[in-house]
Amino acid sequence: MKKGFLILASCAALALVVVLAVRGYVRLYPESHGAQSEESVFRQAEEAHSHPDEDHVLVPPVSGAESAMQDIEKKLTEADFVDLSMEVMDSLPLIGDFKGLTDKDVHLMPEILRNAGLEMGEISQVLHDQPELARQGLDFYRTCFENEEIPEQLRALCFANFRNLHTHIGNRELDWASMVPAKVLGLANQIPKGW
């Protein structure tokens, strides 16, 4: 009897919440007075989309993956890849490039390092799409992690890629710890194994 009443009361409560929510009396998530809720932001975004102006330009719904795919449809030859890797190598920032920055510039990752991430991404994408370029890829990564003028976080990324790619293509394990300073190795170890 008691159990039946509880079930009935639960159903009644659930129905009450649903009815109130539908009628707009109950908000399941809090919304402050006068604030832009998630819903209203999206509504405004839709409105802005129908009347675009400079401040209200919406981002086209293109995924990053699609966009990257458009760029890498073209297959690179070995020579193309060597050219690309030299170009990227030249663009990587050196330790000296970080002098003269302000505290605010370095609070989060500075622009020059973020750009380097994008350049490194280009190399990584090509090597994932064209495994036949692995040998040239290893050369690129080795040149990068051996350069003491390159910041250690970037050297660590190059070293982790070198180690992962080297192992992936079936080469024997090397004495990794002897190849880079301890700080670089420690950072590289933060990246999971596997290509």
Binding site: D55, G64, S67, Q153, A156, K183, L187
Partner: protein
């Protein structure tokens, strides 16, 4: 009796809802619609985060294992609540909510703020500073206002257009200021990618997790303020943490989780995110040498400059003998006050 039972059940249902609350951000009316929509999209991606195991991350962020999207949403949502635009002058919109306020750990604030002179800390005296225009990315302003209020012994708030007066009763008020820097394209390559590109989105989320940690901590550790870096490209800048669970650690672990647990990310997106989290990991100072006397630390900084210029000073050599080796540890992240 019946109505009481119904109310009890309704409140039970609503509190269950609260336990699984999404990150419900509230924006200032000056916030560009495009930026708010992108942040909402970034945060909504957390709901699709697949269960992930990282024992270190669970320890550092005090999360259960496996870490789920709901867990991350809850972590972020309890530390970030308001997002205001970069054009909002916090100094000009600062308001006194209560003349006097009872704070936890009275009189105890981080050393960096304790050294501030009274004019700097006084919310009424606000000298205009001429500063080089820096592009705002994201800053946890709520914690700064909370500390200034605590130092002055009063409850301060910010009068935000569209949101009203927000009292900073705790660093957990979660009041962030974001600017175009968070969304700006940094190069031609960057500009090719849409603003809602997965890599960019996860990088922004990592930044938000970093800033969210500044909503934690109590007493001397309110806001997990940054420390000086001892080596690398940031040597000498206050852009590192000498604790294992500060903002840089949070940014590093969360970005790694987002990147390595991402099935739809391209190799390019993953690579860019990897450099992002390596940069944060590089800012964890795990061991350092320092003098137990803060005055000697000031002298040490002067000695470092002399050393750079190739000048040897006997006082500096003597100083080296006074140093003690320190090791980074986890700091108490429990916050002061209540939202």
């Amino acid at each position: 009796m019946n109505s009481k039972a119904v109310l009890f059940l309704v409140s039970g249902l609503l509190s269950t809802q609260a336990l699984h609350a999404k990150v419900a951000l509230k924006y200032s009316s000056g916030m560009p619609v495009r930026q708010a929509a992108l942040i909402n999209e970034d945060v909504s991606r957390l709901s699709r985060f697949q269960p992930y195991k990282d024992a270190e991350m669970s320890t550092v962020m005090e999360l259960p294992s496996p870490i789920t999207g709901a867990v991350l949403e809850n972590w972020l949502g309890s530390r970030v609540q308001y997002v205001v635009d970069e054009n909002l002058s916090i100094e000009k919109k600062l308001v006194m909510i209560k003349k006097s306020h009872k704070y936890e750990n009275p009189g105890v604030i981080p050393d960096a703020f304790a050294d501030m002179d009274s004019a700097e800390a006084d919310p009424v005296e606000k000298p205009e500073k001429s500063e080089k225009k820096v592009m705002v990315v994201m800053t946890n302003m709520g914690t700064a206002v909370y500390i200034v209020g605590k130092k002055a012994g009063m409850l301060l708030g910010v009068d935000v257009p569209g949101l009203g007066k927000i009292p900073m009763t705790s660093p957990r008020t979660g009041f962030l200021q974001v600017g175009e820097g968070l969304f700006a394209n940094r190069s031609k390559e960057d500009a090719k990618l849409p603003a809602n590109d997965l890599g960019k989105s996860y990088a922004r989320l990592g930044t938000m997790f970093h800033e969210a940690r500044h909503s934690d901590g109590a007493g001397k550790n309110i806001g997990f303020a940054h420390d000086s870096c001892t080596e690398g490209i940031y040597k000498g800048y206050k852009a590192c943490d000498r604790s294992l669970n500060g903002s840089y650690a949070i940014g590093a672990y969360s970005t790694r989780a987002l990147a390595e647990n991402c099935k739809e990310c391209t190799a390019a997106q993953k690579e860019s995110l990897r450099l992002d989290y390596l940069d944060s990991f590089s800012r964890l100072v795990k061991e350092w040498k320092a003098s137990p006397d803060p005055k000697e630390e000031e002298l040490r900084e002067a000695c470092e400059s002399l050393k750079k210029d190739g000048i040897k000073a006997p006082e500096c050599e003597l100083l080296d003998q006074h140093t003690i080796a320190f090791k980074a540890a986890m700091k108490d992240a429990r916050p002061e006050g209540k939202r």
